[in-house]
């Protein structure tokens, strides 16, 4: 195995991991606040199409990424209105959002089918493979790592993070102390939407600089599974996303080299299988089950 090949494998693994990581980080924060938003796939697609459209019309891919972020947040606002203010069922609304996003992105993306745009690629191109691996990837790859660190710090060490977790563990208690439960959940959902949108733009701006319907092909669901897999911890999320990216890449590399490690069907099921296994293991290990926020999915009705 040449150095070039190793670098190619590692870069591909980071590429496969990055959008999963970004989307899952957003969903992690949302779930930590006690809200379950299953619409990640829809928000990713809307981010992907918004990112492509803006990047194509302005010619500046970075603007596309910003647009994806805003579009994702905007559509998550609809979810927040329905589930938080109107107290609609979160699971049903989330699923509806996933379907809605798929349809709306296809509609909005129709004029952009069949064209390509500038890639949101590395800022500097390196010939040396090691430098390329370390500094020559898309800015989003580094951003995802920084975001992981930021989310970890926010949840673990900041006062606001503590309040957010309190809201997710016991919305009534947090409310009794005087924290604005709904406001915090709104912000968390908006952050989740923005991250999902940004993750979607990774597909339409970096990996495959184009728009095609259902471009993300189900990655949003894997992101949701990853949050559970990581038992709501950002560090494990990073590990899980990169592990998954590495497994996908190795599988394709092995096939390209002429042998198959697993049946492809097994690989498609792997993230979900891994999630089930992890859930089972955690449940066996501790009495306090899965680390899931105690109020996850429960609507908050202020008792005033």
């Amino acid at each position: 195995m040449s150095l070039d090949l190793v670098v190619a494998i590692l870069m591909a693994a980071a590429g496969a991991a990055t959008p999963l990581l970004i989307a899952a980080l957003g969903e992690l924060v949302v779930e930590k606040s006690g809200v379950l938003n299953l619409g990640v796939e829809g928000m990713m697609l809307i981010g992907a199409v918004a990112g492509f459209a803006v990047s194509y019309t302005t010619g500046v891919p970075a603007l596309g990424a910003v647009a994806a972020l805003l579009a994702g947040a905007l559509v998550s606002l609809v979810f927040a209105l329905l589930t938080l203010s109107l107290m609609a069922n979160q699971v049903a609304t989330g699923l509806a959002l996933a379907i809605f996003g798929t349809g709306v992105s296809a509609l909005a993306g129709a004029p952009f089918v069949g064209i390509t745009t500038t890639t949101l690629g590395p800022l500097v191109a390196f010939d040396d493979p090691i430098l390329r691996l370390l500094f020559g990837q898309s800015p989003l790859v580094y951003l995802a790592l920084l975001l992981t660190l930021a989310v970890w710090w926010f949840l673990k060490h900041s006062r606001q993070g503590l309040i957010l977790r309190a809201v997710g563990e016991s919305s009534d208690a947090a409310h009794a102390i005087g924290y604005p439960v709904l406001k915090i959940r709104y912000l968390a959902v908006l952050f989740g939407g923005a991250m999902a949108g940004l993750a979607g733009s990774y597909y339409s701006l970096v990996l495959t600089p184009m728009w095609a319907e259902r471009l993300t092909a189900g990655r949003g669901w894997i992101a949701i599974a990853l949050v559970v897999f990581a038992s709501w911890k950002p560090g494990r999320l990073l590990l899980g996303a990169y592990l998954f990216g590495f497994v996908i890449t190795m599988e394709l590399q092995a096939k390209a080299a002429g042998f198959a490690l697993f049946a492809p069907e097994f690989l498609s099921a792997l993230p979900y299988l891994a999630t089930i296994v992890v859930l089972a293991v955690i449940s066996l290990g501790r009495r306090n089950a899965t680390h899931a926020p105690a109020c996850l999915g429960k609507p908050f009705r202020p008792a005033v």
Binding site: A12, G114, M210, L252, A257, P264
Partner: protein, 366 residues
């Protein structure tokens, strides 16, 4: 009042006439059920119409057919239908909603279509790329894409420096297997050491995975990328790596102006027009057709300007000879992966064997 009575009278007369004539109609050939003024044609797609590949081509043909037949046809479609139980539900719904003819455009819709066809004997069904049909009201249609694969293989064999192509494939069904074989056979006619490395992505449409697969193949020395999946992602990857590639099911030049050499184009429109017209004039009969370059159903998109002249000429010759009926890529001698001669010198693989093809020719690594 009078008008009402008259219309009742007329209705009664029409009813009597229908009652009298129907046994006669039944006594005639059951398949030809008389013409129609307007036909409702429904299409079932496996991918989104915006995939710019397989489904896109079928949908372009649907629009082209609708335009040609004007107000004599009303078309509907359902896109992104998963192959499996869902497909049956969708096809049944379309039949129930009054479609006169249903085009099911993916291999995996075959069994669902057969089931529904049995339940709706008055509706015509057309299934693309399958090998089995319900008797009486179901047709099979397919295009000889492998003829186009032979053109691609010729170009790949002549232009590849590493002598290694990466083939991104969906599922190991005969349709895909024969494409891989035709491509490899044609390439090895030019370069006897040519190898085709196949990567199965287990999906017809997953841009991210297709791109990753292409990158994996490129990083392991392939300098030609070809695909039997539906998104333009692999050719974008080829463009980035400076390799050459071929579009799938539609001209994908815009995605990769330098890498894109040519593409196999599916021209379904003439077939759809013909079949819907047959329903209109009552001459529709079940059939099993496999049309190719000879019939204009498989064509090549314009060759890339940057292609060397001798490559262009060789590729054009394969196309011209196939079109004239003088060239069949599946002519012996053909050896399989184990090095055994499967098809002796001068013999051709019969169609029924091609449609069941489950073995690879020498040079395919899968």
């Amino acid at each position: 009042m009078f008008d009402l009575k008259r219309s009742r009278l007329l209705a009664a007369a029409a009813f009597t006439a229908a009652a009298l004539s129907s046994p006669i109609a039944l006594a005639q050939d059951g398949a030809a059920s008389g013409g129609k003024d307007k036909v409702k044609a429904a299409f079932v797609y496996v991918g989104p119409v915006g995939d710019f590949g397989w489904t896109y081509a079928h949908d372009q043909a649907r629009q082209c057919m609708a335009e040609k037949l004007g107000d004599r046809v009303e078309t509907t479609f359902v896109e992104s239908v998963p192959e499996g139980p869902d497909a049956e539900r969708v096809i049944r719904q379309l039949a129930q909603d009054g479609a006169d003819i249903v085009f099911a455009t993916s291999f995996g819709f075959m069994n669902p279509t057969i089931k529904v066809a049995r339940q709706f004997p008055d509706v015509k069904f057309e299934h693309a790329t399958g090998y089995q049909a319900a008797p009486g009201n179901m047709s099979l249609y397919n295009a000889r894409f492998y003829q186009g694969r032979a053109v691609l293989g010729t170009i790949a064999g002549m232009m590849s420096e590493s002598g290694k192509a990466g083939y991104i494939a969906s599922f190991p069904i005969p349709e895909v297997v024969m494409g891989i074989n035709a491509f490899t056979l044609a390439a090895r006619k030019v370069n006897p050491d040519f190898e085709t490395q196949v990567v199965w992505v287990n999906s017809w449409y997953d841009p991210a995975k297709e791109a990753d697969a292409a990158n994996a193949l490129l990083s392991q020395g392939a300098d030609v990328i070809t695909q039997h999946t539906d998104s333009p992602a692999p050719i974008q990857a080829a463009q980035k790596a400076g390799a050459i590639a071929f579009g799938q099911a539609s001209d994908m030049t815009s995605f990769a102006p330098e890498a894109h050499m040519t593409a196999i184009i599916d021209e379904w429109c003439p077939y759809y027009v013909k079949r819907v017209e047959a329903v209109l004039d009552g001459s529709w009969e079940p059939q099993n057709v496999w049309l190719g370059m000879e019939d204009g159903e498989v064509v090549m998109s314009p060759f890339n300007e940057a292609m060397p002249e001798d490559v262009k000429a060789a590729a054009q010759k394969v196309y011209d000879d196939t079109k004239a009926g003088n060239y069949d890529i599946f002519t012996g001698p053909i050896t399989d992966q184990a090095g055994e001669v499967r098809i002796p010198e001068g013999e051709e693989i019969p169609d029924e064997d091609l449609l069941k093809m489950d073995w690879y020719v020498e040079g395919v690594k899968s």
